[in-house]
């Protein structure tokens, strides 16, 4: 790959892997926002997932348990946010920021003994026959199970939100919490469930970084991935299918940038490393510029606190 410059098939495979953490975090945040809650703590929950998943994966020798623990850690941290914003009615923006600052610190504290260790190997799923196909095999059928699970999750969320009664209720809570409340739906309960789900997804996304993508633990390793996931939700206009597209777009930028660095382009590495962040800004600008279309699908109660007075 290196001597040939950039190989499109390898690039695509790298893109899918690089996109997976973003996909998990963004699909979780999508559900949270659809319930009318803006949780800006994705970065904090991701890094907690990364460190917990890594610690448990290393000590049990099984990355599977690492992912389970990461989901738990992400959900637990998210519930701190949930309690603060849903019961104590704190400002969601400030609380989300607090969650990120707290998560980054706590993860660094927990992760200290784990710096410099390699994680247990993730098994790839080689689907017989399909994975041996010349080009398609490498592009679609040679990933670890978590990659497939992420895509399945996006499909499941799409089905849940658009095709089930529970999904309709969740969206109703996000559109107009007062109306949903007067119809007898438990706004706070539904939002807490959504927040916990979002945290679990962010945790798994973080663990994918530390267990599969990198794979080791370093302080601050999410490097803004949680914030990019938030941008992907805006990019997607709150549609699960476009979340996948958005995650792949950002995964693609990351991989392209790394490949350019490796192929020895004359541009210094620091400038290339800016690309994912600059592309995020560019995409936000393009998506948000059309105000009417950008807000068409946005949950109407997004970020507004709910206090039942009756």
């Amino acid at each position: 790959m290196m001597e040939l410059g950039i190989n499109p098939v390898a690039l695509f495979a790298g893109l899918v892997v690089a996109a997976t953490p973003l996909l998990f975090a963004a699909i979780g945040e999508l559900v949270v926002e659809k319930s009318g809650v803006l949780n800006l703590g994705v970065e904090g929950m991701m890094i907690m997932g990364a460190v917990t998943g890594f610690a448990v994966g290393v000590s049990t020798g099984d990355p599977g348990w690492g992912f389970v623990a990461a989901a738990g850690a992400g959900a637990a941290l998210a519930l701190v946010f949930g309690i603060l914003t849903q019961f104590l009615l704190s400002n969601q923006v400030a609380t989300g920021l607090a969650l990120t600052l707290f998560g980054l610190g706590l993860a660094a504290l927990i992760g200290q003994p784990y710096t410099g260790i390699r994680s247990p190997q993730m098994p790839s799923v080689f689907i017989p026959w399909l994975s041996d196909l010349p080009v398609l095999g490498r592009m679609f059928f040679r990933y670890d199970p978590v990659v497939y699970f992420g895509l399945f999750l996006a499909l499941a969320v799409w089905f849940f939100l658009g095709r089930t009664r529970a999904g309709l209720i969740l969206r109703a809570v996000g559109e107009n919490h007062d109306a949903a409340h007067s119809l007898g739906y438990g706004v706070v309960r539904i939002r807490l469930a959504a927040i916990a789900f979002g945290g679990a997804c962010a945790g798994v996304g973080g663990a994918y970084l530390s267990l599969a993508r990198v794979p080791q633990w370093t302080e601050g390793m999410t490097a803004g991935a949680g914030w990019i996931a938030l941008a992907i939700v805006v990019f997607s206009a709150w549609r699960p299918g476009r979340v996948v597209l958005g995650a792949w777009l950002f995964g693609g930028v990351t991989i392209l940038q790394l490949n350019l660095q490796a192929s020895g382009v004359a541009v210094p590495a620091y400038y290339l490393s800016m690309l994912p962040y600059l592309v995020t800004i560019l995409v936000l600008v393009i998506i948000s510029a059309d105000r009417r279309r950008a807000s068409l699908n946005a949950p109407a109660s997004l970020g507004r606190p709910f206090h039942a007075t009756g």
Binding site: L88, L97, L109, Q112, A231, S273, V285, A289
Partner: protein, 354 residues
């Protein structure tokens, strides 16, 4: 059964008391945290919160740490009041340091008394210009300023590395990614034989000016009105776009100035380890100070104390550096939780909901 009852107007007493309660709750939670880490909790709390106050050197170091926190938090507080969320102060801090530092390096060996004011001006302009990027993108394209300003933090960090590894690298520095040491003329004057620099005085002045602007000037009124009643602000003819430019530009300028003070003060050169998270900690300081300038002054000093105490604790108790960030994060949580009591009162109902 307990229930929440909205207060007709926020309680001023509770508003003043919550930061103190939050600090106490954080200390209590800290006792648990240190015990969990296998340290003597009482000793740890004493080292972090009390000892620095009784040691002259530590006291001066607290002032040095508080300076950037107070300056940045002051700027942020205006935007936060008006619902404009600049969370990229860390990036503006770096850009201010770079702009001002470049001036210092450009006049290497040719300084004069005019150099420091020029550097400060360049620092403020650098930070301000960098903060106006998210402002422009918000006003012109409706792009979320939270995400844009945060993305620019990463860009600024990388740009700093690029600059000190390239154009601004010390020619005699054996290819280390850092600039020359600034000339004496480009270093902030200090008080006596301490490391406390003139930036503290500027921060104090800024607190005073911010207080006057917030409570006596029409801009402060517009900021407070935008936060308390956005629709009323719109009807009163307050231009939201100008508000966005003003709040982001102001916070960027102060963050840039803070960055310049840091490189021209304690550090003395441009180096890659410049960003240490003051821009993020300042968010906590702003909230701890209840978004009021006087409050921010005290909150900045408290936060400076935890930094200095935390450093001592790292050294004496072999406490991990990250424990202090956990501490600061917890403080913000408690603060936001107790904030409820300013807007609601807890009442007891005799029976459950009918």
């Amino acid at each position: 059964m307990l229930r929440l009852e909205p207060r007709i107007r926020p309680s001023a007493l509770v508003e003043l008391a919550t930061p103190a309660i939050a600090v106490l709750a954080t200390i209590l939670a800290g006792l648990v945290l240190f015990a969990a880490l296998g340290k003597d909790p009482v000793e740890a709390v004493r080292i972090i919160f009390l000892d620095p106050l009784f040691d002259p050197y530590s006291r001066s170091e607290i002032l040095i740490k508080s300076c950037p926190l107070i300056l940045i938090a002051l700027g942020l507080s205006f935007g936060f009041r008006a619902g404009i969320w600049n969370i990229g102060a860390e990036g503006q801090y770096v850009m201010g340091a770079l702009a001002g530092g470049t001036v210092a390096l450009a006049f290497h060996g040719a300084g004069g008394p005019w150099l420091l004011p020029l550097m400060a001006l360049a620092g403020a302009i650098g930070g301000c210009a960098y903060a106006l990027i998210p402002a422009f993108l918000k006003v012109r394209f409706n792009a979320n300023e939270i995400l844009v300003s945060l993305m620019l933090v990463y860009v600024a960090g990388l740009f700093l590395v690029a600059m000190v590894s390239g154009p601004l690298r010390n020619p005699q520095g054996f290819a280390f990614p850092e600039s020359r040491i600034f000339d004496e003329a480009a270093r902030l004057p200090t008080f006596g034989d301490t490391r406390v620099h003139i930036g503290i005085a500027v921060a104090l002045l800024a607190v005073f000016v911010a207080h006057v602007v917030l409570h006596r000037h029409v801009f402060g009124y517009a900021v407070r009105l935008s936060g308390a009643a956005p629709r009323a602000a719109a009807f009163a003819g307050i231009d939201r776009n100008r508000m966005i430019y003003a709040c982001l530009g102001l916070s960027g300028a102060l963050a840039g100035l803070a960055g310049l003070f840091e490189v021209a003060g304690p550090i003395g050169q441009l180096q890659t380890s410049l960003p240490v998270g003051y821009g993020f900690t300042a968010i906590i300081v702003a909230f701890l100070g209840r978004l009021s300038p006087i409050g921010i002054l005290f909150a900045g000093l408290v936060m400076g104390l935890t930094y200095i105490g935390g450093e001592t604790a790292q050294f004496l108790l072999r406490l991990p550096a990250a424990a202090i960030s956990v501490f600061q994060g917890m403080l913000l949580f408690f603060l936001l939780a107790f904030d409820l009591l300013t807007r609601y009162r807890i009442t007891r109902t005799r029976s459950g909901p009918a």
